[in-house]
C-alpha cells in the first residue's frame, strides 16, 4: 500500500502547495517590480482563491457541460502525470517509466488539447478565440520542445529521467547544451499559459477561455496553471539542472530547490515581458525558435558523438 499511497501523496501535495506558492511568488515579484511593499501575501492569495471558489457558478447557452467540468480536472491530472515520472532520488521515483521523457512530451500535447477544449466547451465567442489562439501557439512550441527533449535524451542514451539525471553527474545540461534551457522555458510559459505566452485566458480577450467560467471551476483552472508550472519546473530541473543530484543535502531537497529556481525564473519572466501578439509568436516560433532547436539538437548530437 505504501508503494501507492506515498508517491500519490508526494505528487499531489507538491502540486497543490506549489500552485499556491506560484500565486504568492507572482504577487511578490509583481510588488517588487512595482516598488510596492510586499506583505500579507499568503492571506491575500488565500482570500483571492476563496473569492474564486465562492463566486456563483455561471453558465452559457448550450454549453458542452461535461467537457466544461472535465477540462480543468484533466489539466490538473496532466500536471500530476508529468510530475509523477520525475525522480526525487535514486530510489524514490513515483512512477519509474523507461519513456518518461516521451510521456512529458505527451503531457505538453494533451495540455494543448485540454486548453482548447476549455475554450470550446462554453459555446461562447471569447473563450473560443482564446482556445484557437492557444492551439496556434501550442502547435508551434510543441515541436521546439520535442527537439530540446531529444537533445537532453541523447547524452543519456535513454528516454528515462533517471538516465537523463545520471548523465549530468559531471556537467549539467544547462551548461552542456546552452540553447536548451532558454528554448524549454518558452515551452514552460506556453504550457502554463503564462506571461508573454498567456494567449488563451488573456485580459485582451476579457478572460478568453475563462471569460464565461466562474466559481469552483475558475479556481480549478487557476490552480491547474500553477500546478502545470510546478510539473514543468520539476521536468526542467531534471533535464537541465541535474535533478536531485547535489552535495550535502538529500536528493529531494535539491530537486525542490532547483524547482523553486525554475519557478522564480518563469514568474520573473512572466512579469517582465509583455504578452506577444499571438501571430508574432507563431512567426517567431517557426522562424527562429524551431531552427534554434535544430542547432541545439545538432550540438547535443555532435557532443554525444565526439565530446
Amino acid at each position: 500500500m505504501n508503494e501507492v499511497l506515498l508517491p500519490t501523496l508526494v505528487v499531489l501535495s507538491t502540486l497543490l502547495a506549489g500552485a499556491a506558492l506560484v500565486a504568492v511568488l507572482d504577487q511578490a515579484v509583481a510588488g517588487m517590480i512595482a516598488g510596492r511593499p510586499v506583505r500579507g501575501l499568503l492571506s491575500a492569495t488565500f482570500a483571492r482563491g476563496m473569492l474564486l471558489w465562492l463566486r456563483p457558478d455561471s453558465t452559457t447557452e448550450h454549453p458542452d457541460a461535461l467537457l466544461w467540468r472535465l477540462a480543468p480536472a484533466a489539466y490538473l491530472v496532466l500536471a500530476a502525470l508529468g510530475l509523477a515520472v520525475v525522480p526525487w532520488s535514486a530510489d524514490f521515483v513515483p512512477v519509474r517509466l523507461p519513456t518518461g521523457v516521451v510521456l512529458w512530451g505527451a503531457v505538453e500535447a494533451l495540455a494543448t488539447v485540454v486548453i482548447f477544449l476549455e475554450g470550446w466547451a462554453p459555446n461562447a465567442p471569447l473563450p473560443l478565440l482564446g482556445g484557437y489562439r492557444h492551439v496556434a501557439a501550442g502547435l508551434s512550441y510543441i515541436l521546439v520542445s520535442m527537439f530540446v527533449l531529444i537533445g537532453v535524451a541523447l547524452p543519456a542514451e535513454s528516454l528515462s529521467f533517471d538516465a537523463v539525471i545520471d548523465s549530468q553527474q559531471d556537467l549539467w545540461n544547462v551548461v552542456r547544451q546552452p540553447l536548451g534551457l532558454p528554448l524549454f522555458l518558452v515551452v514552460g510559459l506556453g504550457i502554463g499559459v503564462w506571461g508573454p505566452l498567456r494567449f488563451a485566458d488573456a485580459a485582451d480577450l476579457a478572460g478568453g477561455t475563462t471569460a464565461e467560467t466562474s466559481g469552483p471551476r475558475r479556481l480549478a483552472w487557476a490552480l491547474g496553471r500553477g500546478a502545470m508550472l510546478v510539473a514543468f519546473s520539476a521536468v526542467a530541473a531534471s533535464a537541465f539542472f541535474g535533478g536531485w543530484l547535489g552535495p550535502w543535502l538529500p536528493g529531494p531537497m535539491w530537486l525542490l530547490l532547483k524547482m523553486l529556481l525554475v519557478l522564480v525564473l518563469l514568474v520573473v519572466i512572466g512579469r517582465l515581458l509583455a504578452r506577444m501578439a499571438p501571430e508574432r509568436f507563431v512567426g517567431l516560433a517557426w522562424l527562429l525558435l524551431l531552427p534554434l532547436s535544430f542547432v541545439d539538437l545538432l550540438w547535443a548530437g555532435l557532443l554525444a558523438l565526439y565530446g
Binding site: 458542452d64 517509466l97 523507461p98 519513456t99 516521451v102 510521456l103 512530451g105 505527451a106 500535447a109 494533451l110 494543448t112 488539447v113 482548447f116 477544449l117 470550446w120 459555446n123 473560443l128 484557437y132 492551439v135 501550442g138 502547435l139 510543441i142 535513454s158 528516454l159
Partner: protein
Amino acid sequence: MSWIDLAFYVLAGIAVVSGWRVFRTDSMVRASFLLLLSFLAVGAVMLLLGAVYLGVALFFMMAVEMLVMALFMVMFMMNPAGLNPMNMVHQPRVAAAAGVIAFAALAGMALVADFPERRPAAGTDVVRALGTELLGDSMLVFESAGVALLATMIGVVVLSARTGRFGPSDEGSCPPGLDPGGLPAGAPSGGEDGSGHGHHHHH
C-alpha cells in the same frame, strides 16, 4: 481477475464506446476528440502489454494529430468554428459494411494466426530493442515512410499556402452568403461605401 485484467476491460470499453460515439456525435470537434479518447485508451492498453514506448508515443502522436485535424477541419469548412451541429456520417451503408469486414478480418486473424511463443527475458530493454529494429532490419521501410510523410507535409503546405503554386489563394474567393442568396459576411458591399462606413464607426 487481477487489476491488470480489470484495467484492460475498462480501457477496451472506453476505446470501443468512444470510437462508436465518433459517428453518433454531431460536431467535428467532438468527433475528433472522441477519437482521441479512443486512441488514448488503446495507448493505455499498449502500456498494459508492456509496450512502454509505443503506448506513450501513441498518446503524443494522437494528441497532436487530432488537434491538427480538428483545427484544419474547422478552418477549411464553412461551418463557423465547428460549433454548428452537422452530420458526421457519409455513405453509412458502405462504411458499415467496410467496418464489419475489416473487424471480422482483424478479429479472425487474431484468433486463427499462429503467434510465436517467444517470451522476452524479464530484463529486456524493449525501448532499445524497438530502436534497434527500426534503425536496423526495418530501416528501409521506416525511412521510406518517413520521407513519404515529409513529402506529403511539404506538398500540403505548398498547396494550402496563400502564395501556393496556383497564385494568391484568396483571390476571387468569397465566403457564403449570410442569408440564402444574400451578401457574404464581411463583404465590401458597394466597395468604398462599406469600408468608409466601417471607418466611421471606429472613432
